[in-house]
Symmetry: C2
Subunit: 279 residues, 2 copies
């Protein structure tokens, strides 16, 4: 089978490595010539081009560009495709992407492989990146059943753990476990830095250890990704953050009122329920 990949970064490149290894014929499209030749050298693709016309005979195309380029890429791509071709993407937000892309192509299925690294680019692409990672597919009522079946097969071949849900449920779930934590964690760093007593701030920096390191990690990450999450998942992220603020207020209130029993009940329950999130 001929599989197209547009955008040969960490995700597109790693997909290419796995799909080539699995025996698919991989056609890779990148904006830069240099990325195309590197993709050939690394075994990411069998053929590469800077032109989307390379994909004219592809049966499935993975759009692996940054989220803001997905729809415009599909617009440029569709004139080359035969009507049976499946288009899927790898963006980390789904409601807005699926809505726009389904209008551009009848056979579109949103996807989100939840694998990543701190580094970006084809240079850090690796085989088996998706093994044991979550891979979400978000069909709508209009998605052809054959399309879901085909992509389900590929997700299993990649060794990833498949979840199928609506684009909206996906976005609310990742708002909770990925997007809200970034804002919650960034607020901690920002608040610390606003400590007005210089000796206290210096001491805090000196004494910070694993607890601060872990709680602040995702808030000190890639800021462009952080802004992108907020832009594309604004409504669901706000819903999570507003619920979060209510719970924070409850804790602050318990401490103000010295209601140690309520605080203990809450910390006891978080100790127990956290385990349900650890696979």
């Amino acid at each position: 089978m001929r599989v197209g990949i547009v955008g040969l970064g960490l995700i597109g490149g790693s997909l290419g490595l796995d799909l080539s290894y699995l025996g698919f014929k991989v056609l890779g499209v990148a904006r830069k010539e240099k990325t195309c030749s590197l993709a050939l050298e690394m075994g990411v693709a069998d053929e590469t081009s800077t032109s989307l016309s390379l994909l004219k005979n592809a049966e499935i195309v993975f759009i692996c560009t940054p989220i803001e380029a997905i729809a415009s890429t599909i617009k440029q791509l569709t004139p080359f495709l035969s009507p049976q071709t499946i288009i899927t993407d790898v963006g980390s937000v789904k409601t807005s992407v699926v809505k726009e892309c389904s209008q551009l192509w009848h056979n579109f299925l949103g996807g989100h492989p939840m694998a990543g690294k701190a580094e970006q680019g084809i240079e850090v692409a690796e085989k088996n990146l998706f093994v044991n990672a979550a891979y979400v597919l978000t069909p709508t009522v209009n998605t052809p059943e054959k399309t879901v079946k085909k992509l389900t097969e590929i997700v299993h071949l990649l060794g990833a753990k498949l979840s199928i849900c609506s684009p909206e449920d996906h976005d609310q779930a990742v708002a909770w476990i990925s997007h809200a934590p970034v804002m919650i964690s960034a607020s901690l760093i920002h608040a610390c830095m606003q400590e007005g007593e210089a000796t206290v701030l210096e001491l805090a920096k000196k004494l910070a250890s694993s607890g601060f390191r872990d709680t602040s990690r995702v808030g000190g990450g890639n800021w462009e990704l952080g802004v992108m999450m907020a832009q594309y998942n604004r409504e669901k992220l706000l819903r999570s953050l507003i619920q979060y603020r209510q719970n924070l207020d409850e804790i602050i209130n318990n401490i103000e009122q010295e209601d140690w029993q309520k605080l203990e009940l809450m910390l006891k329950s978080t100790n127990q329920t956290r385990r349900e999130f650890l696979n």
Copy 2:
């Protein structure tokens, strides 16, 4: 030199192992006979007893009980001591402890070795627990200089990194880097669990990975310690949490107003300033 340790748990036990190895004569006091005999077996102490009278000839006594028992232990201990004896503690909050204990004993110096493990008790005590860990001493204007000098020597012998500051500065710094993160992190778990859509909550549990795991870690820890921090460091913790809530509100407001430039500036600054906290 004869050193007394009251409370042979993880911290007291580990101190005993190191001090014995360094050639001090270690006198250990525990509430239970069983702990006393285990301490002898493990090499935590040279002599042990369930009675504080064992410490009558000690030159320094480390109080390693839970924080709420420090003052009452000192009250029971002082009748046995000669006036030159130094008393120090290992509690994680200092202002209230130092205030109360300085009134009970003229030669008291507050201390906080910032080492720990998830497990508690003498069974998990280990040599070199304090190597490269922060160890804070919090003298007041009334603390004898000789006392600070003596404990400084011991902190260095343990291989720990010494900080000397006021009890108040200590408490505000640990509110920022240790106590507030617990509440911030617990609020995240609590808020997630209040997601009203059962399918979303199940999906969130399934999709949670390293970002959620790290941000929620300290909020899913020992709840008794969490309540204790809030009780004993209430005022400073509230100061940090209220500043934190302001910064969270700022982020929520930027997202509501779609002010992506301000959000980017903030996430860019937290990316850069976080490094100052990582030693």
